[in-house]
Every structure is written in structure tokens, then in C-alpha cells.
Symmetry: C2
Subunit: 158 residues, 2 copies
Amino acid sequence: MEEIDRRIVTLLAKDGRMSFTDLARETGLSVSAVHQRVRRLEKRGVLRGYAALVDYDAIGLSLTAFVSIKPIDPAAADDAPDRLAHLSAIEACHSVAGDESYILKVRVASPIALEELLNQIRTSANVSTRTTVVLSTPYEHRAPEPANSDTGKPDESA
Amino acid sequence: MEEIDRRIVTLLAKDGRMSFTDLARETGLSVSAVHQRVRRLEKRGVLRGYAALVDYDAIGLSLTAFVSIKPIDPAAADDAPDRLAHLSAIEACHSVAGDESYILKVRVASPIALEELLNQIRTSANVSTRTTVVLSTPYEHRAPEPANSDTGKPDESA
DNA sequence: CTTGAAATGCTGGTGTC
DNA sequence: GACACCAGCATTTCAAG
């Protein structure tokens, strides 16, 4: 992936609704050239989708927390992500190195809702939990600056 | 905020590029009614923006980590977020309750880049760091289900 | 919230280098 | 293979009822 594609990705990461016309102006290409590149980036999976960024306070989910989980039975099959996927309060699930096995990012309406969610997490996945409550979020979802070197990955342009 | 607005927010959270035409079909409203609502939601800050979701592997940022930081001098002014804002590898910064004061989410190209970043974080903000490396991400950026109750916040529809 | 109409933007085809 | 141009069509946007 070279210069212009990286530029396009960065621009769309900042404004996912930017028009092809504007992208064309910013990149110095014609509209259809940009169009082709975006389609290709989508097809390759570099652009995985588009999302609106919402104010969670405004939609009644004013409590954010990180929940680290650890299996109670270390011998059991580790399918926690699948077992937890039905809980829509879980926004993200990362498998991590370290003492615990996953970090979940959760959004709930209140402390009581958090308590309830933690119970559901524990029983659904047979894990213990350690919760870190978010007090405020100075920033989030900042757009990435793509690394300028090659990744070493094969170019599987379909 | 009621039913239809919540629906619009959820739909746009799932697909930030959904057209007004499609939103209108899904909500049973006319195109311009949807348009008005979206504009109002944007103005109120409920919809904070739109972003493309990128495959960080594909853009050469294949290492994700959570970095918890703690001030070395607890008496010093706590302006870590400002001091760290120039580091573009930091995607998010959350102030948290607990032993540490902030959790950062960072994206870098390699372990060496992570080492370098940690040094920059420590010197920029005069903090100690504790890093949890992400091994894989089963899911992320799942769309929220707005809480159906009122938030108790005043309706500041501008 | 609706209608309606003008401006803008999207998209695929065709041709060039 | 990558790009530019063009033309038809869809969408966006705004004014007015």
C-alpha cells in the first residue's frame, strides 16, 4: 500500500462520510480514480466498514468500564468471546497477554446495570472479573497514522 | 430522545454511510424527516462524527496494547492527556478509577516501536507505565443498544 | 413532517497512456 | 494497471406549506 492509499485511509478514518469529490481534491486524483481505490481498499479489507461515533452519555450509557476476565477453571475450553457475544453492553473484547485472559470494554447505564452485567459475564463464561471504571475520556477514536513501511504481509489484492 | 432517534443512531453506528434513503425506509419516515433528525442529532452532539473502521494490520500497525499510567510525582499538575496528545500512536485516553490514573490504548508497528513509545510517554508526562499487550481482538466497535430510559439530562436541543 | 425542486455526488462505461 | 472524462442516475439539501 503506498502513499495515496494511506492518505485516503487516514482521511476516511477522520471523516467516514467524506465525499469522493473531496477525497479527489485532497489527493489530487480524479473522482473515479479515488472511487476505484476506495472500492479496492474495501474489498481487501483495509477499510472494514464505517461507523457513526456516538455520545454514549446522550444515549443513556453513561458508565464505561474495562472488565478483565480470568477463567475459573483454567482447564476448560476457552470460548469466552463466543459465550459473551450476546451481551450487547460489551463493545469490545481483546485477548491479552498477562495475568488475565481478556479485556472487555463495556458501556452501561448505571452502577446497578454494571453489577448486573458483571454477574452475567461471570455466569456466562465461568470467569472471575476485575473492573476498572472510566471516570472521563479525554480522547478516543483518534485517527491512525499508517506506518509508512511495508508490513511484510503478502499482497492479496483479490 | 425517543424511539426513532435511537433507531437512527443504532443504524448509523452500524453503518455510518447508510444513505438517508435507506434510513427513511428503515424508520418509515420520509427522506427529509430523517435528514432533519440526523442534522439535529449531529448538532446536539449525539452523533459526534463518522469514521472508517480500518484494519490496523493492513496499515502496518499490527501491535495493539493498553498502557496504564501513574504519575511519578503525585503532587504535580495532572495534565497527562494534554502532554500525550501529540503522540499519534495513542488512539484513546481514559481517566480511570483505581490504582492507576489513565488507561491509554496504543497502536504501533512493532515491539521496538512500542518500547520507543513507552519511553516517550514516560518522559512526556512524567509517569510510570504498565503495559498489557493485545494478542488478538475477537470483536471491537460493536454498535451500542441505547438505553431506553431517560437519562435525566436536560434536553438542550439547540 | 411533507412535498418538491435544484444542487451535489455516485457510479459504470469508454478511452488513453 | 491506473487514470481521466463523461453521462445518467441517485442522493442530498433546503425552502415552503
